[in-house]
Amino acid sequence: MTLCRIQKMMWGKILPQTICSRSDAVNWPGYRKGGVLTASRNPRLRLLRHAALTYGAGTIPELPGIGGERDGCMSMSRVMRMPAVATVVLLVVACAEVPDDPVEHEIFIETNDPLEPTNRTVFDFDVTLLDHALSPVALAYRDHVPGPVRDGVSNVLDNLQMPVTILNSGLQGDFDNMAEATSSFFINSTAGIAGLFDIPANSGRKPRREDFGQTLAVWGMEEGPYLVLPLVGPSSARDTVGLGVDIMTDPLTWLLTPAWSYVRTGAATIDSTAREHDRIEVARQGSIDFYATARSLYRQNRAREIANGVEDPFGFDDTFEE
């Protein structure tokens, strides 16, 4: 079977069946070889094309003085373009073939990575960027900046993310974590000198980090297909939607100037790379297929975050053993 079907796993029922490999694209209305979106009689595709051409092409005017991001990253117009750009990307990507063999088919469904060829390309790009740009800078930062200063930077960045945690803890009905995060935010923002010192953490109180991807999961939304996002890394359809909402609901998105947004993004990226570098290298050592390793680790870690750390790490064996 050469058709790439993305049923249920894609955007709910908006696209009940998407045919997206280039070899299939020839026969698909609204698509021509080379991946260029053309006019279509299909109203859904017309709508998508309209959205892509309208918002993806950047016709939303820049809003002067308003920028920012979740970890600092983008101006308002870019934020608003994201869903449309993501749509265009999804329409031109290559997909994995759906196998006919029953065992293979079952594993394909479990793997839930219908966009694997494209994901691998983006993953290679992300890894190249990590190896040649981010890691050298992050390691220099780790080796030359004293530990207490790095801890202060990490604390400030964590504190800036706290409003998103407060909101999403509330949306999940986790009012204990919401109270904990609110208390941490106010104590650290004042007595902790703008978050430089994490005072509650010193007495063992640290709220769990929550985001809208986790909220959607708690509300019952399926994970959707695995995605690798440029510069961001492993994600899923649900977490990509969550990321967009996190950006929009982060107060700093609306308060920071673009310059400060870039500072925040850069600092967050270097800080997290410096902290995670060794773990990434350990996972990469001896890996048979690092892409698949990263996908598996991302999903397991995400399941654990959604379950607030109580996910049974060995639960995956139950279906197999039955």
Binding site: S287, A292, F316
Partner: protein, 201 residues
């Protein structure tokens, strides 16, 4: 519920009680002791300088502690159903060498760590999960869950472990599935062998 219903289900309940051998407190204690002793030994090995002596010690630790055949089978997941005996034998041998070479290097990152056993619980009728935390020299703590089961000879064996909720067998299964789909089980075996050869250099 009427009396006749109880009369009908009572024999089934008695039979189930006779057949079901739950993990008892003694087993939990044995499993916990086994994990504490073997994990301490592992950390002791990882404190040694890298080289053939450490690798040999780790290989002996694997042989005496890990159910590597069972682990290899579970890492195949559903592909175990379609593997031939010859494929399985070659793969299992390669897998054994792979976990020695790869995990000796990966676990070496825990050199200098201290172990603390937290608690244990029954996962199912045969398996027990022992939760430990290992503390780094700078005070950071990592949760490590060890899954153990009693083999036919009454010996406890490690069947999986999870560091901060990330299972070794689950990760390997996900990693291997794509390679098998592309190149078959023999292709996976060849890739593992070449990986081991490169890593062992």
């Amino acid at each position: 519920m009427g009396r006749h219903v109880w009369q009908r289900i009572a024999p089934a309940l008695v039979l189930a009680a006779l057949l079901w051998t739950p993990v008892n407190a003694g087993s939990l204690e044995e499993a916990t002791d086994f994990v504490a002793q073997r994990a301490e030994r592992l950390l002791d090995i990882m404190n040694r300088p890298p080289g053939s002596e450490r690798r040999d010690s780790f290989a002996r630790w694997i042989a005496s502690t890990v159910d590597h055949d069972g682990m290899a089978n579970r890492a195949l997941g559903r592909y175990l159903e379609v593997a031939t005996d010859a494929e399985l034998r070659a793969y299992t041998d390669a897998f054994h060498n792979y976990i020695i070479v790869t995990y000796e290097r990966r676990l070496a990152t825990f050199s200098g760590y201290k172990l603390k056993v937290e608690r244990s619980r029954a996962l199912n009728e045969s398996d027990i999960v022992v939760r430990t935390t290992i503390g780094s020299p700078d005070g950071a703590r990592t949760i490590v869950d060890f899954r153990v089961s009693n083999d036919n000879g009454g010996q406890w064996r490690l069947t999986d472990f999870a560091i901060e909720g990330l299972s070794m067998v689950k990760t390997l299964r996900d990693e291997f599935a794509g390679v098998i789909r592309r190149d078959g089980i023999d292709g996976l075996t060849a890739l593992i062998e070449s990986n081991v050869s490169e890593s062992a250099l």
